[in-house]
């Protein structure tokens, strides 16, 4: 099939999935462009794997639509699946087959011509560092190598879209570093990549955008940098009457979530672009600021904040 990329490689609209009475996914709408990496975040049971299974064509949604490169995963499932490389959450290959045998079989399934299969298998094995394990059976591989095999499988046929469910699971720190490099190269090659992970520093390092879901509901979809910028805290140290200063800071329109953390020491949230204006407003409110120090928050703490903000839920 001739591949003609569209701007939005993956697009879901109001995607929902119910298992009996359980709402696993609730009206997920997201789009991912070519050359973009979307990090899919959420605690266990949030609906990440369900969403990725729907995007891979394995599960049908209860309602809503999902399309890859403009092809519906329901009505054009076969063509849509030919554009997607998918790594399931718990990747397993037949235990009887050798690594090279398995990848050759998968290359055939994915329409790689017989004459090109050997070279294609070698290419993906080299890409994930599996070439020395070509003649080992799946059962004899360590967890990290099993995961590499799953990643190699998803890369077969050079699909323009990659959907990876927990790709870092089971990889040691060195393998993670290598895999991050691979994903970066794939992004440079204009692939659209969606991956879920519990390793938030990896997501922060790799993804252009993040989507946080909890109980199937989208909590936030945002550019990673923008999300972190908007959640940066600023620590203010002031002089004078503590209570008056706190009242003035709380009344400042640009200061969000103002809290006193010690005597005349406060934390506020303020967007990077509004910090000068915020400082100006505090001066007008007669707060004698002696220190105004932004503290960078990481994705982990922002993620925890989103998830914990749901009443009755903690991670």
């Amino acid at each position: 099939m001739l591949f003609a990329p569209t701007l939005e490689m993956i697009e879901t609209k109001e995607l929902s999935k119910q298992y009996g009475r359980v709402q696993a996914l609730d009206r997920l709408s997201v789009s991912i462009a070519a050359g973009e990496i979307l990090g899919f975040l959420g605690p266990n049971g949030a609906g990440k794997s369900t969403a990725l299974k729907i995007l891979s064509g394995y599960l049908p949604p209860s309602s809503g639509t999902a399309a890859v490169n403009g092809l519906s995963l329901l009505s054009n499932s076969l063509e849509a699946r030919s554009l997607v490389g998918y790594l399931p959450e718990n990747f397993v290959a037949p235990s009887e087959l050798f690594v090279a045998e398995y990848l050759t079989y998968r290359a055939g399934l994915k329409g790689v011509k017989p004459a090109e299969r050997k070279a294609e298998v070698l290419r993906v094995m080299k890409l994930v560092g599996l070439e020395h394990r070509a003649h080992q059976r799946f059962d004899a591989l360590s967890k990290g190598y099993k995961q590499r095999l799953g990643v190699a499988d998803s890369l077969l046929g050079d699909p323009p879209i990659l959907i990876l469910d927990e790709p870092f699971s089971g990889l040691d720190p060195l393998q993670r570093q290598e895999f991050r490099q691979i994903l970066r190269r794939l992004r440079e090659a204009n692939k659209a990549i969606v991956f879920s992970s519990h390793v938030l520093p990896e997501v922060e390092d790799l993804a252009n955008r993040v989507l946080i879901i909890h109980h199937g509901k989208t909590r936030v979809t945002s550019d990673v940098k923008e999300l972190l910028d908007s959640h940066d805290e600023v620590q203010i140290v002031a002089e004078g009457e503590h209570d008056l200063n706190l009242e003035a800071i709380q009344n400042c329109k640009l200061c969000k979530d103002a809290q006193a953390v010690a005597d005349n020491t406060f934390t506020i949230k303020v967007a990077l672009s509004q910090r000068a204006e915020c400082l100006h407003q505090l001066a007008e409110a007669r707060v004698c600021v002696t220190s105004f120090a932004p503290t960078r928050r990481d994705l982990e703490s922002v993620f925890a904040e989103f998830v914990n903000s749901v009443p009755g839920d903690n991670i």
Partner: protein, 247 residues
């Protein structure tokens, strides 16, 4: 077609290197050798060796005891085991049609089952080498009929295997369908009503012993076995596509 061939090759390879399949083959050959020996010891067969093919292929213990059980055991791995261990997900997310998945697995099981029947032909060859006068038309006819019946039982077993990841349900369900197809017509075949008529027309062992193994290839029997197999393959296909379509 490329994906179909790749899956067929993989299924054949997995069957060929699976220790479980070799255990099945060993048990099948052992029991068949015993039944063959018992049949040869029977007085009326010693008197007329041309009765051996109808007895062995059609009305003997091979058909009533072994044949309904072995295809479900062979087909266990096809869907149920793949579902249980998690290899079905990568398969069904690959760009291959559901019909190609069903047909590739079915064809692989059928081709492999030829080895099961090939062993029985070897017994007849041994008899021939020992100077027995055999009616090879009846033997080959019985072989074809039994193989067509095996193809039907493989299709029912594939259907049972597609129900989910429960291996007991897959094997038991397949065997239950096969035994039902054997015993229900046998129970009602002597009734003098429409049920009796229907049962006589669906009586599989009679189709083999009075038809194929008697050297008569009846187009009704061939069509019945082929269309019944197609029906169960279609049901397997429906089961598979329901995963994609039923929310």
């Amino acid at each position: 077609m490329m994906a179909f061939r790749a899956l067929l090759r993989k299924e054949l390879l997995c069957l060929a290197i699976s220790p479980f399949v070799y255990v099945l083959l060993a048990v099948w050959f052992l029991l068949n050798a015993l039944l063959f020996n018992i049949s040869l010891d029977t007085q009326y067969i010693q008197a007329d060796l041309s009765l051996l093919p109808p007895y062995l292929f059609g009305s003997g213990m091979l058909v009533w005891l072994l044949l309904p059980v072995f295809p479900p055991l062979l087909c266990l791995r096809m869907f149920a085991e793949e579902h249980r261990v998690g290899t079905l997900e990568p398969l069904l997310t690959a760009p291959i049609t559901d019909s190609a998945v069903v047909l590739a697995k079915y064809l692989a099981a059928c081709l492999f089952f030829l080895i099961f029947w090939g062993g029985l032909l070897l017994f007849f060859l041994l008899l021939d080498l020992h100077g027995a006068t055999l009616d090879w038309v009846r033997i080959i006819g019985g072989f074809i009929g039994s193989f067509l019946m095996s193809m039907l039982f493989i299709s029912t077993s594939l259907f049972a295997s597609s129900w989910g990841g429960n291996l007991v349900l897959a094997a038991g369900g397949g065997a239950a369908i096969n035994y039902t197809m054997l015993f229900v017509p046998a129970l009602f075949q002597y009734d003098d009503n429409w049920l009796g008529e229907l049962s006589r027309n669906c009586h599989l062992p009679n189709m083999i012993s009075n038809g194929f193994a008697a050297g008569l290839v009846d187009s009704y029997s061939v069509l019945y076995l082929v269309l019944s197999s197609a029906l169960f393959l279609f049901l397997t296909y429906l089961r598979l596509i329901s995963r994609r379509w039923i929310p």
